[in-house]
Amino acid sequence: MTRPLDLIYAVDETPPRAILVISAVQHVAIMAITLIFPIIIAREAKLTGTAFLDLVSLSMLGLGVATVAFCVRSQFVGSGYLCPAAYTAIYLGPSLFALRQGGLSLVFGMTIVAGFVQVAVAPLLQRLRALLPSEIAGIVIAIVGLALAGLGIRYSLGITEQQHINPDYVLVAGVSLLTMIVLNIWSKSYGKMFCVLIGMLVGYAASAAIGIFDVSDILPNDGLSLFRVPRLAHVGFSFDMVLFAPFAVAALAATLRVMGDVSNAQRLNDVDWVRPKFSSLAGAVSANGIAVIFCGLVGSCGVNSYSSSIGLSGATGVTSRSVGYVIGIAFAVLAFLPPAAVVLAAMPLPVMGAALFFTAAFVLTSGLQMITARMLDARKNVVIGFSFAMAVAADIYQDALTAVPIALQPIFGNSLVLGTVSAVLLNLIMRIGVRQRVSMKLEPGEINREAVEQFLTEHGARWAARRDVMRRAIFGVVQVLEVVGNPPGGIEIEASFDEFNLDVRIRYAGAPVQIPDRKPTPREIVASEDGERLLAGYLLRQSAHRIQARGTAGAAELLLHYDH
């Protein structure tokens, strides 16, 4: 791991206390916006007074616990990177569906189930990576962006069931959104950094001025104390198998997003980053699952990692894991301060709408960037185009799609669920015949290493294989040719490639290449050519992700496997 020069505080470094606190406050400010999602659930559930306040306070506690779980570095839980948490639109659709079917208890029960799905998926990530490529994560994030934008428009315009628009809402949302856009595009430093927060404050002020900022519904009848332990009176649990599919798909979508966010956090801390460290990704997905279970238990909705916070840590150069712990403590403290919950819980709908609509633009574009980060071929075009179209169709033809059997309604009735299911299934189908295979024969006495190098380089370029992986493979083959020498019958080299694997098989007549477990000492290497051969075997073992040498009846085969 090589530390980037422009990083001010790397993941394992601890900044001075003042920088630690200010950095944490910045994250808290942008993370708090996502409390919109539990607030939406609370409003749709018609919670008022103390129960409403409790849900918001416990949701803040959930954010704190989730952030610490994401950041912690341990063998099974946590990414080990600064990876703050946030409530997400991913769980919003299934949660609103559950709310309509069985009330809050069903939302909380099914949220716990989703958490267990993530915990179960975490150890399988490495094996499932072929089924969950980055473009599917991109599709999920882009669809989330679209869903956020739709919700943002609904709240900004105050659209009622009769399809009427509320002019007051339009005014507040317009002022708030304009502030965010102006600060984000034409200001620098703090204005840009806090544009959403400032835009929301402007929206609060405009709402108060025209009389749509009303805290009376939220204020408890017995007044507002400065400190209060939130209660679990609104919490209950129920379960429904019909809702398993949408919550499981949401858990899968959240998993894809965590993978993208943690990969980004890893990359921020390592100039030499080429592929994600799966132990860290698995720890983050486990942490996400545990955090979702916790949120369900305390009566809130599902959490996820927060792409905006990862972006903020990259922009400021402060990626210290310690910042995550301070964020966790800050949210845990805020959960016991009811005035903080009141200010957030009374957030006027058009202010929410403006914030949602604004952030949707960034979520959507980051999804599109993830989709196009790798070269797109015909197979990927089908996966991306079709699943994106299915997601949009789920919204446009909502009424027609409700005619599907009840068991399929959670899938067809939600754009994110339908889009994700389509993407995963299409990706699975499109993997048929994806592996490409080439081979070359080196005749005895014509073992030309340059020809091998050229052969692998040309095919690597044709397959759009990563250069670093091809360099390792070329080294491996040249090293094997050096050890094998000039066997009778020549040498056959076969390379097969798919998006995630590069396998090179080298066949020749002779004894299998010796692959030692231990590193030979410099003395052994210098002493004889046997020592050099031991070093060759050791280098091959170290450079390939998997190596297998076998031989029968004078014929030997060496397999070099490289993860791609």
């Binding site: 290493r449 070329i474 170290q542 450079s543």
Partner: protein, 116 residues
Amino acid sequence: MNTSALTIGQTRAGDVCVVTLSGRIDSTNANEMMEQLTRLISSGEKSILVDFGAVLYLTSAAFRALLVATDEAERSAAKFVLCSVAGHVRELFEMGGLLEVFTIHNSRDEALKQLG
């Protein structure tokens, strides 16, 4: 012309003999490199700097040649250091657990400063 074959250049920087390697080093040319380095040591050079900045890759045969030259330098009380070992080449040193076996400087300037 083969652009990746090994070429060995030699210059002086004060008391230091700078050997510049470029291309790939494997069993077909490792002996040539070893002979040149041991010849320099036996000729009485007391500070030899080998610049790896233009090396594409090296195999076990090259590592053995470098280890032999290091031993030879030790016996002759000569300083034998490497510089500009970066990227994929550095990765190979690391894989073989050989980064600590040699004296390696980040750049030619840094190495010359140390040797001077």
